[in-house]
Symmetry: C2
Amino acid sequence: MTKDVTVAIDAMGGDHGPSVTVAAALRCLARDPALNIVLVGVADALNAQLRTLKSSTDARLRVHHASEVVDMDESPALAMRNKKDSSMRVAINLVKSGEAGACVSAGNTGALMATARFVLKMLPGIERPAIASELPTIKGRTFVLDLGANVDCTAEHLLQFGIMGAMLVSALDQRDAPSVGLLNIGEEEIKGNEIVKQAAELLRHSGLNFYGNVEGDDIYKGTTDVVVCDGFVGNVALKTSEGLAKMISTMLREEFKRNVFTRIAGLIALPVLRAFKKRVDPRRYNGATLLGLRGVVVKSHGGADRYAFEHAIEQAAREVRNHVQQRITEKMAVLQKEVA
Amino acid sequence: MTKDVTVAIDAMGGDHGPSVTVAAALRCLARDPALNIVLVGVADALNAQLRTLKSSTDARLRVHHASEVVDMDESPALAMRNKKDSSMRVAINLVKSGEAGACVSAGNTGALMATARFVLKMLPGIERPAIASELPTIKGRTFVLDLGANVDCTAEHLLQFGIMGAMLVSALDQRDAPSVGLLNIGEEEIKGNEIVKQAAELLRHSGLNFYGNVEGDDIYKGTTDVVVCDGFVGNVALKTSEGLAKMISTMLREEFKRNVFTRIAGLIALPVLRAFKKRVDPRRYNGATLLGLRGVVVKSHGGADRYAFEHAIEQAAREVRNHVQQRITEKMAVLQKEVA
């Protein structure tokens, strides 16, 4: 039986606000009978959106009013200081108070991270939150972290990322020892910088299923279940991938539009191209999790559409149901006992 | 009129050795009447390969014997110390002595870099060589550096990479002020690490056409002509791109092979897919240049085929003809005068 779980949604966040978040919430409720949702935001706007979508009253859905909205380009520090009644802050408060098991936001990443860290605090032994996200691979999927929360990392931070990533995969996939790779470069003389070398040592003695160094291409080969890197490198890898994918799809479209023959070829190939596109659809991978906090916080892409935002909500529910935090806490406790 | 140029080729280097390097050399000679080539390597092997390819004697081609070969996985330090008569070392010596304007090798990257630096020395003001390579973009192409020569960079190194990249593009494309972007991450709170912030300051006052920060996706958008980053980040970006491109092509192939209908669709779409593939064919971008040395050294991918290796040879000839080193030296002199 699926466990009951409540997800608080920052319904005002993201480029599209309630038109996406409310619609996605309703779809998730319809699909998951053990899911409860709290829509946090300006009540009038949310109720209006619910009416537009002709939603019947649902005992599993409630609107929680919050008067303010954090802008996408607002300074995280100012947002945290001045907007105590923002939809983002109130949604996180609901996790803190235990009314919700998780919170999902498509809003300002910096503000979400700063606020979540301030309100929820870190898990014991974890110094910094990390952003983890699933990416498609030839074999299936892999989780990469950190994707941008931390630009200057120590070897200990990378170790903690490895632990958090492994616990996330073991929770979500019910697996014992997911493999962890450390992102490095393969030049013969210079196998990575000092911090990465030290991190490899720490990971080797962590009790994790540490595979060793991996290179950038190993992400999409699916060489390991988890790929660990600092937030600068991870963010560049992710954004570079987005850029390349976009270039490839633009060029393919251009080639198929070149003349009447290529257009016909394109029409014939369309079902195949659609099937391919579905496999790598970034919307299916929407929902980066902020690991290391005392509470599940999932960040949706700001530009997410309804379908993509549904995935972020589902990701949040899955993490609560599989006790990701508890696993991280337990693993950290074991490690610290060994060190002591 | 095209200027006469002599390129020394480490004919034993790479996964395929003379079967690729000699064949590529002959093709380049046939195409470029002002090109001279010195094939460096085990003379018997090279002459045998020339006979196999039924090459008539050509006044513009000569074989220069070198008795040793650097292995692909050999320690760069050991290769440099123990193999003074390697095809790689001798080819670089020919650049040092002025017999050749450039050298091309598909061999061991670490050994090539260490040997080239030791034999040729750095240009005045440049502290470290950087690996630069062209990448395709939606708009055309962009040069990214460093791609793996330096894992721990200072802000000054990044400035020097910017200067070298800009001079390379201005030489190759005969352009005055190519735009330079600094690879960074876009998280709201944390705009990059300290070194990148300092590098941005230096670049802003360098007299270059500095665009400012760019993110990973800007590489393939072609936002700037040059993208500057440290070698760790650059290598991860490049390898991640390779991995993603491979995954996409594998999955596309799988989708077209799914059943008889998709196979037919694939046949019909084939010319379009081929045209697309040609546009992003990595072989067309083969030939990373080791910038900052007193001499042109171009590194070909180890697995390059004849077509790809031809591009590396052409890249080398183009750099000599357009005086890349001289431009870097002049720009560095101007900068140092300003600082002094």
